[in-house]
């Protein structure tokens, strides 16, 4: 007679799986087998139902090894399934977090152009990032102009009423010193950092991001510019991962850091763009002012035909010319070149102009005007390590007797109608701003009818052709000789046209300035 096979009951309790063998004859328990899931989670129970009953099979009593193998296999599969489920969950969460990140980045990109202030930009970026990463607190800390001082610009925290974030202004706008620690390192651009709570709390200034963190902190710098010229605007600091509607709290990792870096880069670029635009506007305004203070119409003086022009390739120039009445009624024609052609040169030039105009009204001698000018601006010039070369001439109506003064400036050229020759008129006085306490002296110059005096800056003679050669005095003299029979305005046009045609158009050159003084009166008496 064939022996009746016993029943087996498999049950799972927590992470343990057991099998009981019962006699097929009378139902008495024959043997108990146990196996443990290679994991301490208690998912098994939910998988097999709350009463623990999973399946009952009949196995022969002498198959203990087979039963153990079966149990181990069940335990392993339960474990694998459980692991798979958890992996899938974490993949879904990661994929949702990525969707959230991409969506929020897109939103920031779309709205960034309509933000009017740095604060609006920061709000947009920080709120988006807070939602995308899901954190307990997202902050933007701005670097203030004083060394080592920062302030919180915006902070977003979860709104307990809704699933949104709200602006928390309670800690914003209070300057604090950053002595060191993670924030100093992040602002130095040395690191994007994920910092454990303990370290963050120790290093953060009380009442600033990090001082109240419970779990983890993620900090990334906000900068603009390229590697050679980078400006740090501030830092984004995310405190404590937080569970949201669809995901458990994820520890900060590369995905969160990447998103923070991307949004930080966009914020930095936008702030940088705004700053550059603001500087551009200022420069345009400065250029306008500078242009407006140059003589707008050629001066008129009986016996002379006068013309002057200044062209600045950059936003701001350091060249200047002027027609100013002297105390004795003569007209002082003045040309000057401040070293450099940037905003600072332009400011020095504007200052020099005011001094010159003031002095001209009080003095009658061109030498005295330059001496006074030198005294007035020497301190400013030496402090800013700048200097000015200048040349000027005093003209009396209907008189060919001039006085010429030259402070280290390019020697004026003089066309003599009688011979058709062009002379160079070198001066011997030094540059303005180089040596303190010196005086300047004018030299007499006589012009006959048709003679032309040309004052110019080094932008003319040092204009560079594509092959590297310079325009130089001899080309300028040639242009002057060729055009001297024309009106002052046309001589000036000839000079500028020649320089423009000669110079390499691809290079933004120096400022170019020239003044033409043509004597059309009687010969000097």
């Amino acid at each position: 007679m064939q022996e009746r096979l016993p029943d087996m009951l498999v049950r799972a309790f927590g992470n343990e799986v057991e099998a009981r063998l019962f006699s097929g004859e009378d139902g008495t328990e024959l043997e108990l087998f146990r196996s443990t899931c290679p994991d301490d989670r208690t998912v098994v129970q939910s998988l097999v139902g709350i009463d623990g009953t999973m399946l009952g099979v009949q196995v022969p009593t002498d198959r203990a090894d087979a039963i153990r193998a079966l149990l181990d296999s069940i335990a392993r599969q339960v474990h694998d399934l459980d692991q798979l489920e958890r992996d899938m969950e974490s993949m879904y969460e990661s994929s949702l977090a990525q969707m959230e990140g991409v969506a929020r980045l897109g939103q920031v990109v779309q709205q960034i152009s309509v933000c009017r202030t740095d604060q609006e930009l920061a709000s947009l970026a920080i709120e988006s990032l807070a939602v995308a990463v899901s954190v307990e607190r997202a902050s933007f800390v701005r670097v203030l102009p004083q060394q080592g001082v920062c302030e919180i610009v915006v902070e977003y925290v979860p709104d307990p009423q809704t699933s949104d974030y709200r602006f928390d202004e309670s800690r914003c706008g209070e300057p604090f010193h950053v002595a060191g620690g993670f924030l100093a390192e992040v602002l130095d651009g040395r690191a994007t950092a994920i910092i454990p709570a303990e370290q963050a709390r120790e290093e953060a200034v009380p009442g600033t991001p990090g001082s109240d963190v419970q779990d983890q902190l993620l900090a990334v710098p906000v900068r603009y510019g390229n590697a050679e010229n980078r400006t740090t605007v501030g830092a984004i600091i995310l405190s404590d991962p937080r569970a949201n509607l669809y995901a458990s709290a994820r520890q900060f990792g590369s995905q969160e850091a990447e998103l923070a870096i991307n949004i930080g880069s966009m914020l930095g670029a936008a702030v940088g763009q705004r700053r550059f635009a603001a500087v551009d506007r200022e420069l345009k305004l400065a250029k306008e002012i500078q242009h407006q203070i140059l003589p707008q119409v050629p001066a008129h003086l009986d016996g002379f035909d006068l013309a002057g022009r200044c062209e600045t390739p950059g936003a701001i120039g350091g060249d200047y010319f002027d027609f100013v009445p002297l105390h004795d009624g003569r007209l002082f024609v003045f040309i000057a070149d401040v070293s450099g052609h940037n905003l600072a040169s332009g400011m020095v030039m504007v200052g020099a102009r005011s001094a010159l105009r003031l002095l001209a009204g009080r003095e009658s001698q061109p030498g005295a005007v330059l001496t006074g000018l030198h005294d007035a601006i020497y301190d400013d010039l030496s402090r800013t390590e700048r200097f000015i070369t200048a040349a000027g001439t005093a003209l009396r109506a209907d008189s060919g007797s001039l006085e010429l003064v030259n402070a280290g400036h390019n020697p004026p050229l003089c066309f003599r109608a009688a011979t058709g020759e062009v002379e160079e008129l070198p001066g011997e006085d030094p540059i303005l701003g180089l040596v303190p306490g010196i005086s300047f002296e004018a030299q007499p110059l006589n012009l006959s009818h048709g003679d032309v005096l040309l004052l110019y800056t080094d932008g003319v003679t040092e204009a560079v052709a594509p092959d590297g050669t310079m325009f130089e005095e001899h080309r300028l003299a040639e242009v002057l000789g060729r055009s001297a029979h024309l009106s002052a305005a046309d001589i000036l046009n000839a000079v500028f046209t020649s320089v423009r045609e000669f110079a390499d158009q691809t290079e933004a050159g120096d400022d170019v300035t020239a003044v033409v003084i043509k004597y059309v009166g009687e010969a000097s008496s």
Binding site: E100, A132, S163, Y246
Partner: protein
């Protein structure tokens, strides 16, 4: 009250699965379909309260599915959210006339859940 039913229709498995996962976490009963035909089957059988419908799918577009739902009086009141890739703005008018909402991908899961709660009156 038993859980509200939501159907997610998208031929991209990762979007379909992730969105279902998020909705399940928010305690909805969620069904999935990978194309328009499957979607209509589930719609007629389960009568979901809300359908997320991808526009660009093979065989039958989301528009086609939505139009069939709207023509079927027995399905009146079913909320439909159309999901479309950015850059297909010309379809917006068509989408807005048949759907309750017209969302542009990439969408934010947070917004999706907020919208679901709003449309289902929770």
């Amino acid at each position: 009250m038993s859980a509200r039913k939501v159907l997610v229709v998208d031929d991209e498995p990762i979007i379909c699965r992730s969105l279902s996962f998020a909705l399940r976490k928010d305690r909805y009963e969620v069904f999935e379909a990978r194309d328009g035909e499957q979607a209509l089957e589930v719609i007629r059988k389960e009568r979901p309260d809300l359908v997320f419908l991808d526009v660009m799918m093979p065989k039958m577009t989301g528009f086609d599915v939505a139009e069939q739902v709207r023509q079927d009086e027995s399905l009146a009141g079913m909320k439909i959210i159309l999901l479309t890739a950015a850059g297909q703005e010309q379809d917006r008018n068509r989408g807005e006339s048949i759907a309750d909402e017209y969302l542009t991908k990439p969408f934010s899961p947070t917004n999706i859940l907020a919208l679901t709660r709003k449309l289902l009156g929770e």
